[in-house]
Symmetry: C2
Subunit: 303 residues, 2 copies
């Protein structure tokens, strides 16, 4: 066993190493381990969608405050089992994975939308309205005057009161036809590549994938233009889509999301902006909105 | 057959529609169809790497002018058949697909590098040197003072003479250990998600995938931390890696790349910045470096 003198000596000898250590940026894991319970939120089960695929469960959080009409219509479609048995119809590399009724464009064959609406007001942009939380990022953006996070979603603002959820990796959007009101939520897409920010304000954002992106991003790309599958057998069939609220509490997937207005989220972003460790010797000093992923955890597991 | 009067009438009737048409941005396909042969280049076969996988061929163009030491070492490794039988060892979602010797980190088991060098000067940044072409983009960048394209590669500049190829979708980098000189090209990675620009200047860029990204991006993600496969049988084995120069000319894959200093490339970028058609009613008016893909064509096919 070490003597006290010996320990003190060891401490002194360790000082330069500790100073070196101090220059290192903490890892997200270290920062998350120090987070407080209040910094995590449990998404409203009315906004949580479980999409069960043969490869596992994808969980989507609906952007209720950003596209309420679409969220309501999607809930109706889910509750009337519209999505059960629909398919992954399109995977375009570095762009989107899209699902829905493969015959959705054929009026004669298309699955009935039940009591859901066939057209909806666009909800491409949120204009004013009630105040919403916004945590601004410091490094600017190529596409918009201001970007940051709001209630877990990556958001851009036009500086004139207009705001929208941006198309980042994992963003779930509402597929539509050429008319702005033709989207109804019966066909959705998730972004699986470099953020196609040119889609912003041209489509309604329904929400974002908070778990299971590694399933949606790894499907074979379709051989037809726009990534549609050329053979029907290539399409993966969706087992079921349910709202967490409709699943008995004991059977729900435990999930919490780090609050994007929390100190720990700010620290995670800062550590990523100024990443400095044995490997990264040249911190970027900057970060782009879509390079930030919002941490998610399973609260049933020990942190 | 239509009479002359009838044709004139048809022309007049068509005018409003033509004015409408004029507002639409041309598609890349339309622009490429009008390109001239001189706007396309055939990559030097000494810089073209064919990586043959069970799922098909991936073609990488080496960045000879940006990382010549790495290009030379990779050529040596290829010519001594180092890569044949190596594997896809890691697929981390929204980040990288990496290949090489699964036992590369174990000195006792690692495959011999043959006459290739084990360490190389980093080549993370190009400093001055001979002039190189640079086509600047107009919309700025979150990470660097200046971005654009050089000889097909996405490039950032620090405004002080330093330049580097950026980590965009499809960029191929040199995996390394913690020491800056520990990369030698025997393990490479391709970016398969949102551009991780924080890697810029921390790793050497070997080149970029110009064909076959849809293969590298669709492998199942690994279950271990950093996307390493937890079971050896999950790894895909590389059939062979060859230089186009070493393949008989008749057996090479015909491929041409649009020159990034051409008028047509500028027009493609502008059309994407200001996309306006029946679907996109709100052009972004901007574009980020990594949202631009450089067109590639098969010259043996009719344009």
């Amino acid at each position: 066993m070490l003597t006290r003198t010996c320990l003190a000596l060891a401490f002194l000898l360790a000082l330069p190493a500790m100073a070196e250590e101090a220059k290192k940026s903490p890892t997200p894991k270290e920062l998350l381990a120090k987070s407080t319970p209040a910094e995590w939120r449990t998404p409203d089960p009315q906004n949580l969608v479980y999409m069960d695929l043969p490869q596992g469960r994808v969980i989507i959080e609906l952007a209720q405050d950003w596209s309420p009409l679409h969220a309501a219509n999607i809930r109706t479609l889910i509750r009337e089992h519209y999505f059960d048995g629909t398919q992954i119809i399109r995977v375009q590399d570095n762009f989107v994975t899209q699902w829905g009724d493969p015959d959705g464009d054929d009026k004669k064959k298309a699955k009935s939308l039940g009591t859901a609406k066939e057209t909806l007001a666009p909800e491409f942009t949120r204009k004013g309205g009630k105040a919403y939380p916004f945590t601004k990022l410091p490094d600017g953006d190529v596409y918009a005057p201001e970007v940051g996070f709001s209630e877990g979603f990556p958001v851009a603002r036009d500086g004139k009161g207009g705001a929208w959820i941006t198309h980042c990796y994992g963003t779930v959007g509402v597929a539509r036809d050429t008319g702005a009101e033709t989207g109804n939520g019966s066909s959705l897409y998730a972004i699986i590549g470099q953020a196609p920010r040119n889609l912003d304000r041209n489509l309604a954002v329904a929400g974002k994938v908070i778990k299971g992106m590694e399933i949606l991003s790894a499907y074979p790309r379709g051989g037809e233009p726009m990534g549609f599958y050329d053979k029907p057998e290539q399409r993966v069939t969706i087992k079921s889509v349910r709202l967490a609220a409709d699943v008995p509490e004991a059977e729900r997937t435990p999930i919490q999301v780090l609050r994007t207005d929390s100190k720990t989220f700010a620290a995670v972003i800062d550590a990523k902006r100024n990443r400095r460790d044995d490997f990264y010797t040249r911190p970027a000093g900057k970060i782009d909105l879509c390079n930030i992923s919002v941490p998610v955890r399973d609260p049933s597991k020990k942190p």
